[in-house]
């Protein structure tokens, strides 16, 4: 028997989509029965009270969580989001309901063994409710009390070799697309780079030292499966520099209908027979393809590597062999001065494809990290230049993208050691308010009005 009446929430148990209400009720029941005899460290009825509180919010149309909350573990300045309800008497089971961010593995591959261990911990010391995963990437353990935080942290680190994620004005938890683990489009090992940078910058992640939050995300190609260009201050997007690899025999199999276009993504509707001219050649944004006499040609110099042709004919067209990343900076949500997507700042940093050793090739993890430091040195140089600049110049709670607007792209490029190039802009400026550096102008800025008056009377 449920502890609270929840007529409004009950409505959300119908319909085909997995119902979070049914799931939470199920967890409430498991805790009520407690067949495993767990010595619950937070109230056993936390889930019932959470549903009760949520039902109240459905009724009132307003939140019942109080403002803010500062809790954590010693040694770290973030990782836990403190939260208290404003109805502690009516719903004591969730009066404190802190969220623990746990660092997730690259691209979120798990073994059931790991997940079971994590859930055993969470059943004992938390609500049993989770978010798999937070938008940034973390495993989110939803709801526990302050005294449990150090206990959870101890078990995570000592028994599971597992750390907290980030929160606050720091480097937040980096996240990646599945990359080379299961995708032929991946231009670099997104998981390796994501893991390496996460390990490299643990200090920046756990102890807030920045003007504001900062995020990394890693997409293996411009398709953007982790949306790095929209959701990270520094976005790494894989690309290539040489030619798209074309297999004419495979092209023919698309043309004659043997291989379905887009790997069958549109098979739910009859779009007619595949028309390579209409669906690929004519849709190329730069018009750099042709299909004549059964031969597909690409004028790669004009290709912007948009992925369209490869996405349509994955068996016939492959990414190039000279691979690397583009770096885009400044993406952010609207607050304070408007939403931004990443701006291209580093067009191409090659990643040496011959350097692809694995952890297993090294005696220790330290040696592996040293090798990765060398492999990604050009990249970390840019990252650290960005941080040096923003940490010095950024105002309190000013995202990188806002600093870039306030002080200008020129200054940003100068600070990270990039020569301005045409690809840095979508189009040149239209207004003539152009600043010159004094040294660029013959004679400089020190002028004498009397000198001028000699030639121009008042």
């Amino acid at each position: 028997m449920a502890k609270h009446e929840t007529p409004l929430l009950d409505e959300l148990e119908s319909g085909p989509w997995p119902s979070f209400v049914s799931d939470i009720k199920q967890e409430a029941e498991v805790r009520a029965k407690n067949e495993k005899g767990i010595d619950f460290q937070i109230p056993a009825d936390a889930c019932d009270d959470l549903l009760g509180l949520l039902e109240l919010s459905f009724k009132d149309g307003t939140t019942h969580w109080k403002h803010g909350g500062i809790v954590g573990v010693f040694g770290y300045g973030g990782g836990i989001i403190g939260r208290y309800s404003d109805k502690p008497k009516d719903f004591p089971g969730c009066s404190s309901f802190h969220t623990v961010r746990v660092a997730q593995p690259g691209a979120k591959y798990y073994t059931t063994e790991f997940l079971r261990q994590l859930m055993d911990l969470w059943q004992l010391r938390g609500s049993g409710l989770t978010n798999m995963h937070g938008s940034t990437g973390d495993i989110v353990l939803l709801g526990t009390t302050t005294p449990q935080l150090e206990e959870i942290f101890y078990t995570l680190t000592h028994e599971m070799d597992q750390d907290l994620g980030g929160s606050g004005s720091n480097l937040r938890t980096p996240a990646d697309c599945i990359g080379q683990s299961r995708c032929e489009y991946a231009c670099y090992d997104t998981q390796e780079l994501c893991y390496f940078l996460t390990m490299m910058y643990q200090d920046e992640l756990h102890r807030p030292a920045f003007p504001y939050k900062f995020k990394f995300k890693f997409d293996g190609c411009p398709n953007g499966c982790v949306a790095s260009m929209a959701r990270s201050d520094l976005s790494f997007i894989g690309t290539w520099k040489d030619q798209i690899q074309v297999d004419q025999a495979e092209v023919a199999l698309y043309v004659d209908g043997t291989t379905p276009a887009n790997a069958g993504s549109h098979s739910g509707r009859d779009w007619g027979a595949f028309d390579i001219q209409a669906e690929v050649v004519d849709l190329c944004p730069t018009d750099c393809m042709s299909y004549v006499d059964g031969e597909l040609k690409i004028y790669d110099k004009e290709c912007t590597r948009c992925m369209h042709c490869i996405n349509v004919m994955p068996k016939a067209l492959k990414i190039g062999k000279q691979r690397g990343v583009s770096m885009l900076a400044g993406a952010k949500a609207p607050i304070v001065d408007g939403a931004q997507m990443g701006t291209l700042v580093v067009p191409f940093l090659e990643i040496d494809q011959t350097m692809n050793k694995q952890l297993a090739d090294f005696d220790t993890e330290e040696e592996w990290m040293e090798y990765l430091e060398e492999k990604y040195e050009a990249l970390t140089e840019v990252i650290e230049a960005v941080w040096d600049y923003w940490m010095e110049e950024g105002k309190n709670r000013e995202r990188l993208g806002e600093l870039m607007i306030r002080q200008g792209l020129q200054r940003f490029l100068e600070k990270i050691g990039q020569e301005p190039q045409a690809v840095h802009v979508d189009h040149p400026r239209t207004n003539p308010y152009i600043f010159w550096k004094e040294e660029e102008v013959e004679g400089g800025w020190d002028r004498d009005i009397n000198e001028y008056r000699k030639h121009h009377a008042r």
């Binding site: 403190g82 003007p211 010095e392």
Partner: protein, 106 residues
Amino acid sequence: MAETIEYNGKSFDVDEDGFLLDFTQFTEEWLEIVMKEEGIAELNEEHKLVIDVLQDYYRKNGIAPMVRVLSKLTKFKLKHIYELFPSGPGKGACKMAGLPKPTGCV
């Protein structure tokens, strides 16, 4: 829930996270209360410098300084601030100095 802590004849109004609700209630006794919660055995001159700097800055500017500014004013690297205050400058040092609770996307 706000509660009132009585200690050595002084009383302090605090929130759930143990932050002072009113900066003017700060006294030496407050330091003793927070030390225990924040895992600090003994207050040395460096702790006191951080607390003084935070309080001065707060009185003058009405906000807590950015981490970078705190480091500059005290000449302590962030790492050292964590050595002094294990919960860090926000939850540790600001709480101890009696400043209001840090807000935002913490």
